[in-house]
C-alpha cells in the first residue's frame, strides 16, 4: 500500500470513529430510557389522568397538552417564518435594514429559552392579558421557533437555482407566480426539515412554558385556548424533582413518551419530504 492510500485509510478511520463517538451516546441514552421506562408504559398510563398526587394513573393530559402546544406553535410560527423568509430572499433589497434583520434572526436563535419564557410571560400573559394559557404558551414557543424556521426556509429558498426564476420570469410569469410555482415547491423539503427540527425542540422545552402555560397538576383537558395545560417536559420535571416518592420508572416512561412523540413528528416530516421530492422530476 502506498503512502497516499494509507493516509486515506487513516483519515477514513478517524472520521468513522468520530461519527461513532457521536452516535453511540445517543443510542445509549435512548436504550437506557427504554430499559427503565418501557415496563411502566401501559394503556392506562397513556390514556388516564394522574391520580394520588401523580403517584398513580397516567399522563394523558400532559400528552394532549404537548400535542396542542406543538400544533399551536406550528400554526403561529410556520406561516410567519416562511413568509418572512420569502420576503428576505425574494423581495428585500440588500441594504442595511435587511442585513440588520438577517443578523437579528441569527442572533435570536442563540437566546436561552428561559429568556423567551420571561418575554412571553410579560408580553402575552401580563401585557396582553392572555393569562397563563395555551395561547400564551404557543405564542412564546412560536417566537422561540421562528429564527430556526426563518433560517432554514431562507436557506431552502436560496438553494433553488436562480435559473428556475429566470425561466419563469422570461416566460412572462409574475414575481409571485414565479415564487409560487417555480421556487416554493422545490424549497418545501428544506423548509419542512427546519420546521420539524424547531418544533421538536419546542415540544421538549420547559423554560418557555414554565410561566406561560404549564400547569403543575391539572388532571383534565383544557376547555379553550385560554386554559392552562399540563405538558410532558414540565410534568417530567415535576415528578422527577418536585414531588417526593414517585417511582423513577414513571419518570422514565414519561421521557420515553416524549421521545416517541418527537420521533413521530420526524417520521411525518420524512414522509412529507419524500412526497415532495418525488414531485421534482430528475
Amino acid at each position: 500500500m502506498n503512502g497516499a492510500k494509507l493516509r486515506q485509510q487513516i483519515a477514513f478511520s478517524v472520521l468513522g470513529a468520530i461519527t461513532l463517538l457521536i452516535v453511540v451516546p445517543i443510542i445509549l441514552v435512548i436504550l437506557y430510557i427504554i430499559i427503565n421506562g418501557a415496563g411502566s408504559i401501559t394503556w392506562q398510563f397513556l390514556t388516564q389522568a394522574p391520580r394520588n398526587g401523580m403517584k398513580a394513573g397516567g399522563i394523558f393530559p400532559a400528552i394532549v397538552g404537548t400535542i396542542l402546544l406543538v400544533v399551536g406553535t406550528m400554526l403561529f410560527a410556520l406561516p410567519l417564518g416562511v413568509l418572512s423568509a420569502i420576503y428576505l430572499v425574494e423581495y428585500a433589497r440588500d441594504d442595511l435594514f435587511t442585513r440588520m434583520i438577517k443578523l437579528s434572526v441569527v442572533n435570536l436563535s442563540g437566546i436561552p429559552s428561559i429568556v423567551y419564557g420571561l418575554f412571553g410571560f410579560t408580553a402575552f400573559v401580563l401585557l396582553l392579558h392572555f393569562g397563563t394559557s395555551l395561547l400564551a404558551g404557543s405564542l412564546t414557543l412560536g417566537i422561540m421557533s421562528l429564527p430556526v424556521i426563518i433560517t432554514a426556509s431562507k436557506e431552502a429558498l436560496e438553494s433553488v437555482p436562480l435559473t428556475y426564476r429566470e425561466i419563469s420570469l422570461s416566460l412572462g410569469a409574475t414575481k409571485w407566480q414565479t415564487i409560487r410555482y417555480c421556487v416554493l415547491p422545490y424549497a418545501i423539503p428544506g423548509i419542512l426539515t427546519g420546521t420539524v427540527l424547531s418544533l421538536s425542540r419546542a415540544a421538549g422545552e420547559t423554560a418557555p412554558i414554565l410561566f406561560t402555560v404549564a400547569a403543575f397538576y391539572l388532571p383534565r383537558l383544557p376547555h379553550s385556548a385560554f386554559d392552562q395545560v399540563m405538558a410532558l417536559p414540565y410534568h417530567l420535571y415535576v415528578i422527577a424533582t418536585q414531588v417526593p416518592n414517585i417511582p423513577l420508572s414513571i419518570s422514565f416512561a414519561t421521557a420515553l413518551v416524549l421521545i416517541a412523540l418527537v420521533f413521530l413528528m420526524n417520521l411525518v416530516s420524512i414522509i412529507l419530504r419524500a412526497h415532495y421530492r418525488k414531485k421534482r422530476l430528475w
Binding site: 429566470e166 419563469s168 422570461s170 416566460l171 412572462g172 409574475t174 422545490y186 422530476l281
Partner: protein
Amino acid sequence: MVSEPVIKTVHLDCFFGAHQVLRNINLEIPANEILGIIGPANSGKTTFLRALNRLNYLHRTYSQSGEILLDGRDIRQISDNLLRKKIGIIFALPQVLPVSILDNVAYGPKVHGVTNKETLARTVEEALKRAYLWEEVKDRLQEPAVRLSGGQQQRLCIARTLAVGPQVILYDEPCSGLDPISTAKVEDAMQQLKADYTQILVTNNTKQASRVSERCAFFLMGELVEIGPTHDLFTYPQDKRTDDYITGRFG
C-alpha cells in the same frame, strides 16, 4: 425597409452600476427577419438581447437610457409580463424546469391564465411540432424533461417559448453547448419559424450567423460597429474591425 420595424432601438445606452456596457445602439429589425448578432466576448451582445425584454433589470445595479420600441410603442409602457410574453428568449445552456416535458411547455400558457386541459394539450402539441420535437417526445410527455439530450432540451426551450405565443424570439448563443447535429436541428427549427416570428440570434459562431441570418450586426466593446445583409457583411465588410473579426484575426 418598407414596413414598420418590429423592434427599434434609439440611442440605447446600458449600464451595470457605473460600467457602460452598450453605447448608443440604434437598430431596426423588420418583421420575420432573422438578425444575427456577432462579436467577441464582452461586446454587449447578451446585454442587448436581455435589454429587449427587460431581463437585465433582474440585476439590481442595471440601468439604461434611450428607447426601445416594440411595434412603434415604447416598451416602458408595456408591463413586464406582457412584454416577456411577446418577446421570448432562449438561453445559452438549455434550461429546463425539473418537471415533465409536458409541464415545461404548459407552464407559460398556465401562468397566462389558460386552464382548459384540451386547450393546453393542443397548445403544447402545436409548440412541440413547431420546435421539431413532437415526433421524438410524443410518447413520453410525462417523462422528466432533464432526461432529454442537450439538443432536445434546447428545442424544448424553444417550444416552451412558442407556447406563450410570442412575436419576437431572442436566442442567446443557443447552440454553444450542442453537437453539430443538434445544432443543425435547432437551426432548422429557426428557419421554419421565420414565417411567423421575428428572430434575433446572438452567436459566437460566425459560421452559424452566416448560415442562419439574413442580416447581421457586429458588436465590439459595447458599440454597434456594422450592420448589413449577412452576405455583404461577410464578403465586403465596411469596417476594418469587422474584417479583422470575421477573418479570425482576433476574438
